[in-house]
């Protein structure tokens, strides 16, 4: 009886230890990594709540969409536009690591979209080191991603896994109340995406991309609120806030008008299709385009240098 009891107790203890380890396999890493990500930065002290910030900033910068649009413009792949792989060693603060993780995420999206698998592994290495540096490396299956890139067989799966890994990182950071880190990543991804777009616009003057650049007015307004929220207690965000204010001032002169229409829902071959039916017009001058690109370049360069 005593033996059975002790065996059962032992089994229960083992089970609870296993459950604890499983449920917290990713918790311990990263808690001590953020000493320089200003300790006073706490989601509860923000002027906009963490929940609202999370809502505002989710999916602001999908590298997939921007990269596809760039590829559709017919422009050739240009590696020199990207932040060179292997730079991660010089990013010594958590803010720099996070924001450059975002930069490399956008670069990876661009590289994947153009199917340039030979350079993917270099970028994945940089991404993995930066992710480890801020305690989220466990969400990147580096071995699998690298193998997929080297095998050059299933590019769609590689793209999907890359994007979903970053979504997991974002979700985890918000759950851990580290949305300042998540925001830094999102800002980096967005900036690099617009930087690449700007470079392509300079070469091609593509009307679709210029409109897309103009439409970022709405996104800049959201980013400005979010960045200022963190700038109250974080010097890195404070510097970024000054720069986003300059960008916002340029965008203030860009006009976006929307002709309202009623959405239509129809069934096409068994698929439900909803058409929004609003017409958006972007009025942006060449001078404004040049000013925006210059300001984006300046912000992006101060981040990657």
């Amino acid at each position: 009886m005593k033996k059975i009891f002790s065996t059962a107790l032992g089994a229960m203890t083992s089970l609870s230890v296993v459950l604890s380890l499983n449920s917290c396999s990713s918790c311990s890493q990263g808690q001590g990594e953020l000493a320089d990500f200003q300790e006073s930065q706490d989601d509860t002290t923000l002027i906009v709540s963490a929940e609202v910030v999370g809502d505002m900033i989710q999916n602001i910068s999908s590298p997939v969409e921007m990269a596809n649009e760039i590829k559709s413009s017919g422009v050739q792949f240009s590696q020199s536009t990207l932040n060179a792989a292997g730079q991660e060693g010089k990013y010594e603060t958590s803010f720099k690591r996070a924001v450059n993780l975002g930069v490399y995420a956008a670069d990876l999206g661009y590289i994947n979209t153009f199917g340039k698998n030979l350079v993917v592994v270099d970028y994945l290495s940089s991404i993995k080191r930066l992710a480890d540096g801020i305690g989220v490396g466990q969400f990147l299956n580096f071995t699998l991603l690298s193998r997929m890139a080297k095998d050059n067989t299933n590019l769609d799966s590689l793209k999907q896994l890359s994007v979903s890994s970053f979504n997991e990182i974002d979700k985890y950071l918000r759950e851990q109340k580290r949305s300042n880190v998540s925001t830094a990543i999102v800002v980096g991804t967005w900036l690099e995406g617009i930087h690449i777009t700007g470079s392509v616009i300079e070469q091609t003057k593509d009307k679709g991309l210029i409109d897309r650049l103009g439409e970022q007015k709405n996104i800049v307004e959201i980013l400005q609120i979010v960045i200022h929220t963190y700038a109250r207690s974080d010097n890195d965000f404070k510097a970024l806030a000054t720069e986003i204010d300059k960008l916002k001032a340029i965008y203030d002169n860009v006009r976006i008008t929307t002709e309202m229409g009623q959405p239509v829902t129809k069934e096409v071959d068994g698929m439900l299709v909803i058409e929004q039916n609003e017409i958006t017009t972007v009025e942006i001058t060449e001078e404004q385009v040049a000013q925006i690109i210059a300001q984006i370049k300046s912000m992006r360069n101060s981040i990657v240098e």
Partner: protein
């Protein structure tokens, strides 16, 4: 001895439902939604968990969608859901569309977006039952200005 065995059974009983819930609401659902997505490009997924009695409010997600872009949303419902979840897209307070149409709840729908901005996806269970689901947002096509469906 009997008490010990009961304790072990009780422990197992406590563990088994959570494992089932994980199977019904976890990675398996994600695989289903991704499988239904087909060859379109994955953008984002939404992990949906609705508590009983939340029929009117449900749960909300914010997502930035771009103009001239054709999206698809695939929804995989938990096997124990009493009914399929309803997804509504809002632009501010304006309801743009829903997967409940023509008297049925579709497990996939497409949205042709003509205005870049932050949209809200509101997911609910009309009957107010407890439910879980996974939704995957994917990119179908990006149109030029001239190509946009009229």
């Amino acid at each position: 001895m009997k008490h010990i065995l009961l304790a072990i059974v009780a422990l197992a009983a406590l563990t088994i439902p959570s494992n089932n819930a994980a199977a019904q609401c976890g990675d398996e659902l994600m695989k289903q939604a991704l499988g239904a997505m087909g060859n379109y490009q994955y953008i984002k997924d939404f992990d949906i968990k609705l508590a009983a009695g939340t029929s009117s409010t449900g749960t909300k997600f914010s997502v930035v969608l771009n103009s001239r872009t054709h999206y698809q949303i695939n929804i995989a419902n938990g096997s124990t859901n009493a009914e399929k979840v309803v997804v509504q897209i809002f632009d501010g307070d304006k309801l743009i569309g829903t997967n409940f149409a023509n008297g049925k709840t579709f497990e996939a729908f497409q949205f042709i977006c003509s205005k870049t901005g932050a949209y809200k996806l509101q997911v609910s269970c009309p009957g107010g039952g407890e439910a879980c689901a996974r939704a995957v947002l994917s990119l179908v096509k990006q149109y030029s200005e001239a190509e946009m469906p009229k």
